[in-house]
């Protein structure tokens, strides 16, 4: 292979697919390089929730709001159906203290224009008859949605291919070449299938981005954070919204190395339940740990006791790209002209993929950028 491209995207997960999609929409000739197959890393080992209430006010919520809007548009414009559903989520509270915290979250989000309805125990049970009878209540966010992340990745890639994207699967990047001279602009991406001449590279390789960035002499502050999920047999109607417990945000936002487990229960469009969630720092080990499965199952039973007899048919673990300030790393690196990064979303990569792709395309095309773009520039850590 010896090719020439306007831009090369590295990584065929949901973020890489979104970058490729918005770049082709902007008229660029794009090549995407994926070492395995589409959605073969973190994008196939996650839940599919597009959440707003877990975002902090400021840049994070601004990104979330724009991206949720983009997902709604994509669900109408992309040809391949990826199961977009306005499922709504309920932040469930075990006790009065939890409900109090939920009320505060509801008020904060209402101020940002997000619909939020506080439920007492009885109202919660009338919406979700299968929850434990002693729960204090919850907050309903009726605008939250969910998708099938794998099919969404394929849908974005398919649409991008129709606009001229060249997809190279089973193709691992081996080196990045830079021009001789002062500014060291990128000149080519060397893959195991050959060379692609390009002046622009988008690194969207998730937790494996550090390796790719290393080829350009850039050090990233990313850490792989492992999350497990259980998949049950189809149980249509068992839950009518996605259910998450309030401590989910606390678990996500802490940088603690210890295992954190908090309830996430989501129904896929086929009716299978995805049960999560766990967070732990254990390096690049993607194997499923039995202790974690047990903790997730036990936590799910605390909130949904009637799940006891529902069969679990599979489990998986994925590595989320954790960033130190809980904001993604999206944008250019001035030290290496032509190198753009799109990663660091941790567990929010599915929800934030479209806005990430759109911002990357805006950076590269020189289009006007919203303020939030500056808050998530990767060089804010000054590690390179």
């Amino acid at each position: 292979m010896r090719e020439r491209a306007d831009a090369v995207v590295i990584g065929g997960g949901i973020v890489g697919a979104a970058c490729a999609y918005y770049l082709t929409v902007a008229g660029f000739d794009v090549h995407l390089v994926e070492r395995d197959t589409p959605a073969s890393g973190t994008s196939r080992a996650c839940d599919g929730l597009i959440l707003l209430w877990d975002k902090s006010t400021g840049a994070e919520l601004a990104l979330g709001l724009s991206s949720a809007q983009l997902w709604t548009e994509l669900s109408q414009s992309l040809d391949l159906d990826f199961g977009y559903t306005r499922c709504g989520t309920i932040l469930v509270a075990e006790d009065a203290q939890g409900l109090h915290a939920g009320q505060a979250t509801a008020e904060r989000l209402r101020r940002e224009g997000v619909r939020a309805e506080v439920l007492d125990g009885q109202a919660l049970r009338s919406l979700e008859p299968n929850v434990a009878s002693d729960l204090a209540g919850g907050v309903l966010f009726s605008e939250d949605a969910n998708i099938d992340p794998r099919r969404a990745t394929l849908a974005l890639l398919e649409a991008a291919q129709k606009q001229g994207l060249s997809l190279h699967l089973g193709c691992e990047v081996q080196a990045i070449r830079r021009q001789a001279g002062d500014d060291g602009r990128l000149s080519a991406v060397i893959t195991q299938q050959g060379e692609i001449a390009t002046e622009i590279l988008v690194c969207a390789a998730g937790v494996w981005s550090s390796q790719v960035a290393g080829y350009a002499g850039i050090t990233l502050p990313l850490q792989p954070r492992k999350g497990h999920i259980l998949v049950t047999a189809r149980a249509p109607g068992f839950i009518r919204h996605a259910l998450l417990e309030g401590s989910y945000t606390a678990t996500v936002q802490s940088g603690s190395a210890d295992l954190g487990v908090a309830l996430v229960a989501e129904a896929t469009s086929e009716g299978n339940l995805l049960l999560g969630s766990s967070r732990q720092f254990v390096g690049f080990d993607r194997s499923v740990e039995l202790d974690v499965l047990r903790s997730i199952a036990a936590r799910a039973l605390r909130f949904l006791p009637a799940l006891a007899t529902t069969p679990v048919i599979r489990s998986y673990a994925g590595l989320r790209p954790w960033s130190p300030d809980h904001l993604p790393l999206v944008g250019p690196f001035p030290e290496v002209p032509g190198f753009y990064l799109a990663t660091g979303h941790e567990g929010a990569g599915i929800g934030l993929a479209p806005i990430t792709g759109k911002l990357v395309a805006s950076w590269i095309s020189g289009a006007e950028l919203p303020d939030v773009a500056r808050a998530i520039r990767p060089d804010r850590f000054r590690t390179s």
């Binding site: 794998r150 990745t153 394929l154 202790d291 047990r294 199952a297 799910a300 007899t309 048919i313 599979r314």
Partner: protein
């Protein structure tokens, strides 16, 4: 938590043989099996009852193992699923819930399963595997229908025809895919396996007496019916095993039993993280084992069909090898004695293995019958994915099982791709012109089979 010297997973001929061998040497052994009783598929329903029937030496030997297991007070856990492995620790789920079994050594003897070929109508009620029909007959005394047709390849066709007709079904015909010429070409490898040849001969004589035709070079290309199977189309195959155009004939049937040989059950060795290799003579992907049946993980052995399709005789020999090697690893016996016995066993295994390899070569019909799978034929039964969807995804560049799983949902249902995995691998191989040895199976992760959330929540291991 329970601790033991040796955990044996699977109580068929290989597992029983390993358990008894190790227990004789003084090891504490726990045997687990998903069935209500030990014996595996091979001894399901006990030895044949009718005095006119031929009972093979290997069946008697397996029966003796069952009796010896009781005599040695081996701890047998019925209806128990081994659903995860970590090193030589095993997560169990049985009638009393979840339990962690801390074993010093493990023998995985999880058997094999029948290969099927998707043809139009194969998901209709009334179509079942040969093994499924045998379970019905042996365990419940029920036959799948009044007018039954059998199609496929290999010795199980004969045994099933015999079983069903003795239970009162009218067996219309037994259709064997292969041609007699192929038998002549490969048959010499059967030399020395007189017990097995006598068994096959006894079945053939029995069929002949009952007037059941045994026809070579034919198979079923499709079935139809409203709610269940009403008729089957029989097609002639040329010498290369390819359907001959315009050779179809229709038969009115109310049941069809099919089986095209076996594939090893390797999900447990995959879960354990053992290295695997592709060997078409052993039925596909198998765990790599050394001369002692030890896998790439120390203390973890594989025996019987799990280690490669070879039949009950080879399975029992492999079980003995694994059982002996395990007690040697445990330090319960002196190495000199073990090594001499192991050498003897390996020699007798060779004839049995040759026979297994011959059967695999002779009856490897699958790849040639792919033409029977139409675009609207369902391949993944759990998620209703048709061959056409898979073929389109393969054309679009999805060349691995996991890639197809992402795009089509194939393999995402309750059986986790156990049935459709090998079928999809063949679709990929045929369409891309690549060898099956380059196509890896689906990822396997715990739980091995569906397990209630409540049971999973109890699991505790050290």
């Amino acid at each position: 938590m329970v601790a033991t010297d040796l955990a044996v997973i699977g109580a068929g001929p290989a597992g029983l043989s390993a358990a008894v061998t190790a227990a004789r040497a003084g090891a504490h052994v726990i045997v687990v099996d998903e069935s209500p009783g030990p014996g595996g598929q091979y001894l399901r329903g006990g030895l044949r009852q009718s005095p006119s029937q031929y009972v093979s030496q290997s069946a008697r030997r397996a029966q003796n193992l069952l009796e010896e297991m009781k005599f040695l007070h081996i701890d047998f856990r019925a209806e128990t699923l081994a659903w995860a492995l970590e090193g030589t620790g095993v997560a169990l789920a049985g009638p009393s819930g979840s339990e962690w079994l801390e074993a010093r050594t493990v023998v995985i003897a999880a058997g094999g399963r029948e290969e099927v070929i998707p043809f139009p109508g194969w998901t209709l009620p009334g179509v079942m595997t040969l093994g499924g029909a045998q379970i019905l007959a042996k365990t419940h005394g029920v036959v799948p229908g009044k007018r039954v047709l059998l199609a496929g390849s290999g010795p199980l066709l004969l045994a099933t025809a015999d079983e069903l007709s003795r239970h009162g079904a009218q067996v219309l015909a037994v259709l064997e895919v292969t041609h007699p010429l192929a038998w002549l070409r490969h048959g010499m490898a059967a030399w020395g396996n007189w017990d097995r040849l006598r068994e096959a001969w006894a079945y053939l004589v029995g069929l002949n007496k009952r007037g059941i035709p045994y026809r070579f070079g034919r198979t079923v290309s499709g079935v139809s019916g409203e709610e269940q199977v009403e008729s089957a189309t029989v097609v002639r195959l040329n010498k290369r095993g390819i359907p001959v155009p315009d050779s179809e004939e229709r038969l009115a049937v109310d049941a069809l039993c099919v089986g095209f040989g076996f594939v090893p059950n390797i999900e447990l060795t995959q879960l354990a993280g053992c290295k695997h290799e592709y060997d078409s003579q052993k039925g596909g992907w198998v765990p790599e084992v050394d001369e002692s049946m030890e896998t790439s993980i120390r203390g973890l052995f594989a025996a019987g069909e799990t280690a490669g399709i070879g039949g009950a005789v080879a399975a029992m020999l492999e079980g003995r090898v694994a059982g002996l090697a395990a007690v040697q690893r445990l330090g319960l016996v002196r190495s000199g004695i073990v090594n001499r016995t192991l050498a003897d066993l390996r020699r007798s295994r060779q004839a049995a293995q040759r026979f297994g390899a011959m059967l695999s070569t002779l009856f490897q019909a699958g790849s040639r019958l792919d033409a029977l799978t139409m675009d609207d034929t369902i391949v993944c039964r759990c998620e209703d994915v048709a061959a056409g969807q898979l073929r389109a995804a393969i054309r679009a560049g999805a060349h691995s099982l996991d890639a197809l799983k992402n795009g089509t949902r194939a393999g995402q249902g309750p059986c986790q791709g156990r049935t459709c995995g090998p079928l999809i691998a063949r679709l990929i191989a045929r369409q891309t012109g690549s060898s099956l040895s380059t196509i890896k199976g689906f990822h396997v992760r715990p739980p091995l089979k569906p397990l209630p959330v409540g049971v999973l929540a109890q699991e505790r291991h050290p």
